[in-house]
Chain length 226, copies 2
DNA sequence: GTATGCATTAATGTATACGTTGTCAACGAA
DNA sequence: TTCGTTGACAACGTATACATTAATGCATAC
């Protein structure tokens, strides 16, 4: 089927979730800012009801906070928040890597993961940071998918959203992660070889390094409002 | 201030969340059952709006699913689900135990954790399974709190809800966990000694054992609808 | 007897009106 | 001048009416 003939009717509530996410990630709704429900409803061209429902959904996802008579507040992300998030990602992704290694995937099943690594390599060569970030997201998402734990997939997706918000600010403040792809390849190789312990250890150290790099950037730049 | 003079006004939406959680945990809304919004609204003595908002919140928490024109479905829990949940709990709680050990807590700060272990001991002596389960919940909750990662606390709380639902069925089907308190004490001791590696390893093996016990019960009894 | 299509209906999705309540500012008293 | 009080306002929380749409059942044709 082609992507053109989708034809699936989306509810306004679902549309509101998408639009609000876009507005938050694009920075049009900056972290720490307040927005009235009526104002958002007007902006999205619908009534308050679906906007309110979307706000509740996004609140559960940790992107904003609904406060009585003060509108929704887009949650800021502090350096401490990023530490917490990276620690969770480190644990759950490392577990996923280990479990993926135990599944005995063949080369075909691992092809999507290998593709993301190749894409990152191309992006690094052309110094295309945005493309690198997109491929990196796909790598981590695919990794946990291979782990086979649907709850890990869901939690990591939520945390990755927050990382993406922070990265929108930090992406151009740090050196290109030229060496990180060696880690990615090593993880892939460990999974292919069925070496769960190595997959776990390598990914853990990879994530730990990434955490230190990012937290240092956030702290030295006092970017507690991302 | 005394607890009697609380006087905090709760919104109907918040009340609906509480009531629905009670109905789900008590089994009055059995896993797998469907319930119309109108019916629930009538049952809770309020209009559809707050009930609907509560349903969205509980959906985000993984307790139920809202389906168009079919009402909300209380999600069943399969043995596979419990495996996933226990794997997540194992990783995050072990990390929390290790981080708690690094904090250098004194005896006073660890007193609440020690109290839950003492309570479990008393409950085991009197073979009071319900009291043991309640104290065990408090132990795990307090443990992650000491870890200091608020996101881990939140995720573990969500997963613990699911465990509680399953335990309502399995609590009386398994032997009393007479030896588990030795694990709890060992974890506490490792934290007190500041031995992060031991705290991590001990708690991990504790959780792994618990997982195997529970999953085996669920599988042998075909309890895929808990 | 079966299958297809249409009409009915019932439940959600959405809009809107209204009540409730916290906020903010102006005014007055100390 | 400053602090406290009061009042109006405005935004949310809730109820309710309405639109939408999918499921269901019946009738009809093959």
């Amino acid at each position: 089927m082609t992507a053109s003939a989708q034809g699936k009717p989306k509810s306004n509530s679902a549309i509101a979730v998408e639009k609000l996410r876009e507005l938050i990630f694009s920075g049009e709704l900056p972290a720490g800012s307040d927005h009235l429900e009526t104002e958002l409803a007007l902006r999205l061209g619908m009534s308050r009801t679906p906007v309110r429902e979307a706000a509740l959904t996004l609140e559960a996802q940790g992107l904003l906070e609904v406060r009585a008579r003060k509108g929704v507040r887009i949650l800021p992300i502090s350096a401490r928040d990023m530490e917490e998030i990276y620690d969770v990602l480190t644990e759950l992704e490392s577990m996923a890597a280990a479990q993926a290694a135990k599944q005995g995937y063949d080369a075909k099943a691992l092809a999507p993961l290998a593709k993301t690594i190749a894409d990152m390599e191309v992006a690094l060569d052309s110094e295309d940071r945005a493309a690198w970030a997109a491929a990196d997201d796909r790598f981590h998402n695919e990794l946990v998918r291979l782990g086979g734990n649907s709850r890990v997939v869901a939690i990591v997706a939520l945390m990755a959203d927050q990382v993406r918000r922070a990265r929108a600010v930090t992406l151009y403040m740090r050196p290109l992660p030229l060496k990180s792809n060696a880690d990615h390849r090593a993880v892939l190789e460990a999974i292919r070889a069925g070496d769960a312990a190595s997959a776990h250890a390598i990914h853990r150290s990879h994530r730990t390094n990434a955490k230190q790099t990012l937290v240092q950037i956030l702290q030295t730049n006092r970017l507690h409002m991302v």
